[in-house]
C-alpha cells in the first residue's frame, strides 16, 4: 500500500530544538514522500504573540523559528521534505520573510513559501462578528485578540501548488499533518474515514515526545530508555487513513501500545466525536497494535462529516497574577509556615482571595479555597515552603502583596528564607463557534513584499 511519512519537529513553543535533525535524517533514509511538522501554538501562546506583534510589528511569530529551521532547512529543501508549521503564530507573513532571509543567509535557493491566512480575528473589522457571537460577554474595553481554528484544506492546496514550506497561524493541530497527507493521496474533502485516520495520526504527532515515551516514564513500572535523547515521532500514513507510529532512528524513548494509547486519548472528551475543522473523528472502535520494535499501528478510526462551524478563542485582559514563596525548616517549621500564611491573610485578605499552599505537604491537590489544607492538623514536616497566590485587576495591589511576602524576611515568623516573588499579566478566554462560511481561509505564496 502507498504510504506517506510525516515527522514531528516540535510539540510546543519552546520545545527542544535538537529534536528535528534526527527526524529529518530518518525521513531522508526512508526515501519515501514525506513532510515534517512544527506545532508551536498552545491556546495562550498565540495571545502572547499577538501582544508582541502590537509592540513590534515585525515579530509575533515563533521566537525559536531560527533555531528550529536552521539545522534542517537545507536538507529538507534538497530532499523534498515539505515543512508545515504553525510557527507563523500572530504574524505568518513575518515568519515567511524571516525564513526567506534565513535561506539566503544559508546560500540556499529561495524556497516557495505559502502563507495561510483567515484565522486572525484581532483587527477592527472582526469586532462586529465577535460581538454578534458573544453578545454581552464581549468586553470590548479589555479585548486583546481572537483567532479561529482553520483546517487542512488550504495547507493541502498550497502543497499541491508547489509549496516547500507552509507557514500558518492558528490551525487545528491535527490539520498540520492532515494537510500534507491530503495533498499526497488526493483525498476529497468528504473522504471522512481517511481524513479522520490521518487527523488522529496528526493528533498522535502534535505533542512531539509525548507519544515516544515523554510524559510517560514512571521508574520501575514504565521505564523508558535513554530519556535524555528521546526521539521525536514519525507517522507512516497509508492511503486508507490508517497509520503506523514510529520515531527517529538512533534515539532514545520508545513507541509501544501504552505510549500510543495515552496520547490517543490526550485532551479528548467524547471518543466518538473528536471535532476538528476538517472532520469529526470517532476512535470508539479503533485498535492499537504493536507491529514491530517501536512501531505501533492505529486503525479503525471512523470519520463523520465535519461540523458547520469553526471554533474561535477570544482573549481579554485578565488583570494581574502574583505569587510569592518563603521556606521554613526544622522543629515546628509547619507552625511557623502557617503563621506566615495567617499574617498575609490578615494584612492582604481584605483586598482579594489568597490561595495558600504548603509545598512539601499540599501544593497541587487542593483547590483554591484551601479546603484540603485547612482540614489537616499541623504536622512535623522539617522542610517546607509557603506559597501564596492571588489575582487582581490592579497591578498595584499585586505589587503590594508581593512586598508583603518580602516583608516576611524581617517581620514574619522565625527562620524564614528563600523569598521569591513574581507577577505576570493574565488573559481570560472565551470560546465561540462561528459559521465556517463567515471565516474563509486563504493562502498565497510569499513574494517578498
Amino acid at each position: 500500500m502507498k504510504s506517506f511519512l510525516v515527522g514531528c519537529g516540535a510539540g510546543f513553543s519552546g520545545d527542544r530544538t535538537d529534536a528535528a535533525p534526527p527526524v529529518v535524517k530518518t525521513l531522508i533514509e526512508r526515501a519515501l514522500p514525506c513532510a515534517i511538522i512544527f506545532e508551536n501554538l498552545a491556546e495562550r501562546t498565540l495571545a502572547a504573540h499577538q501582544l508582541t506583534k502590537r509592540s513590534y510589528p515585525d515579530l509575533g511569530f515563533e521566537p525559536l523559528l531560527e533555531l528550529e529551521l536552521e539545522p534542517i532547512l537545507a536538507d529538507c529543501l534538497r530532499h523534498h521534505i515539505v515543512i508545515v508549521g504553525n510557527f507563523g503564530a500572530a504574524n505568518p507573513k513575518g515568519a515567511a520573510k524571516f525564513i526567506k532571509a534565513l535561506a539566503l543567509r544559508l546560500n540556499l535557493d529561495e524556497p516557495r513559501i505559502a502563507v495561510l491566512e483567515g484565522d486572525n480575528l484581532s483587527d477592527q473589522k472582526s469586532k462586529p462578528l465577535l460581538k454578534e457571537q458573544l453578545g454581552k460577554s464581549f468586553d470590548e474595553e479589555n479585548f486583546v485578540c481572537a483567532n479561529a481554528y482553520q483546517g487542512a484544506k488550504e495547507i493541502a492546496q498550497a502543497i499541491s501548488q508547489g509549496a516547500q514550506i507552509v507557514v500558518t497561524g492558528r490551525v487545528a493541530d491535527p490539520s498540520l499533518t492532515l494537510g500534507p497527507a491530503m495533498a499526497f493521496f488526493g483525498w476529497k474533502e468528504d473522504n471522512w474515514n481517511c481524513l479522520a485516520g490521518a487527523s488522529m495520526a496528526g493528533h498522535l504527532l502534535e505533542c512531539g515526545a509525548q507519544v515516544t515515551g515523554g510524559y510517560f516514564s514512571d521508574p520501575g513500572l514504565k521505564d523508558v530508555p535513554n530519556m535524555d535523547n528521546i526521539g521525536f515521532p514519525i507517522a507512516e500514513i497509508f492511503e486508507d487513513g490508517s497509520c503506523i507510529i514510529t520515531k527517529a532512528d538512533d534515539t532514545g524513548g520508545l513507541v509501544d501500545v501504552r505510549t500510543v494509547k495515552e496520547q490517543l486519548l490526550y485532551e479528548l472528551h467524547d471518543p466518538s466525536a473528536y471535532i476538528t475543522p476538517d472532520v469529526v473523528c470517532d476512535i470508539s472502535k479503533a485498535t492499537v497494535e504493536q507491529v514491530g520494535h517501536d512501531r505501533v499501528r492505529l486503525s479503525g478510526v471512523i470519520g463523520h462529516p465535519r461540523t458547520a462551524s469553526l471554533k474561535a478563542n477570544v482573549f481579554f485582559d485578565g488583570g494581574w497574577f502574583g505569587e510569592g514563596e518563603i521556606s521554613y525548616a526544622g522543629p515546628n517549621a509547619e507552625a511557623r509556615a502557617r503563621l506566615a500564611c495567617d499574617i498575609l491573610q490578615k494584612r492582604m485578605g481584605k483586598y482579594m482571595h489568597l490561595r495558600f499552599d504548603l509545598i512539601g505537604i499540599t501544593s497541587i491537590l487542593g483547590d483554591d479555597a484551601g479546603r484540603m489544607l485547612s482540614r489537616q492538623s499541623v504536622g512535623q514536616n522539617l522542610d517546607l515552603r509557603v506559597r501564596v497566590a492571588a489575582q487582581h485587576t490592579s497591578k498595584d495591589i499585586i505589587d503590594l502583596l508581593l512586598r508583603e511576602v518580602t516583608a516576611l524576611w524581617c517581620g514574619g515568623p522565625a527562620g524564614g528564607g528563600g523569598v521569591r516573588v513574581a507577577k505576570r499579566q493574565r488573559l481570560s478566554t472565551q470560546s465561540c463557534l462561528i459559521a465556517r462560511d463567515r471565516l474563509p481561509a486563504t493562502f498565497h505564496f510569499y513574494d517578498g513584499k
Binding site: H269, T287, I364, G366, R426
Partner: protein, 107 residues
C-alpha cells in the same frame, strides 16, 4: 476472597485539559483487568475521589478495544488555566491522583 490494591498497580493514566474541564484517560495494562476497573471505578466514585476540587460532573466513556476509558471531569480546575491560582494550572498531576484510588482484586 479479595485483596485491596492500588489502581496504579493495574492501570496507567494521562491528563489533558480544556478550559475548566479535565480529561483523564485510564488504561488497563492487561485486558483481563479491564472489567474489574469498569465495575469499580465508576463515575460516582471518581466524583467522590476528587471532592476536594468540587467537580460538578463526571462522565465516563468506555473504549473496550483499547482496554481503556476516558473520564471527563467538569469544573475541577478552579476556572482553568486562565483563572486558577493553583501551581498546577492545567491539573496535569490529577492522573496520578486518580491512580491512587483503591481496587478490590479477587484472589
Amino acid at each position: 476472597m479479595t485483596k485491596e490494591i492500588l489502581l496504579y498497580d493495574i492501570a496507567h493514566a494521562r491528563t489533558g485539559d480544556k478550559g475548566n474541564r479535565s480529561n483523564i484517560s485510564l488504561i488497563a495494562y492487561k485486558p483481563e483487568h479491564y472489567s474489574l476497573i469498569v465495575e469499580q471505578i465508576t463515575e460516582q466514585r471518581v466524583l467522590n475521589h476528587f471532592a476536594d476540587r468540587k467537580p460538578s460532573k463526571v462522565v465516563r466513556y468506555l473504549l473496550p478495544n483499547l482496554s481503556a476509558m476516558n473520564f471527563v471531569i467538569d469544573d475541577v480546575l478552579d476556572g482553568g488555566v486562565n483563572d486558577t491560582l493553583n501551581l498546577d494550572m492545567h491539573g496535569k498531576s490529577l492522573s496520578f491522583h486518580l491512580l491512587a484510588m483503591k481496587v478490590m482484586m479477587p484472589l
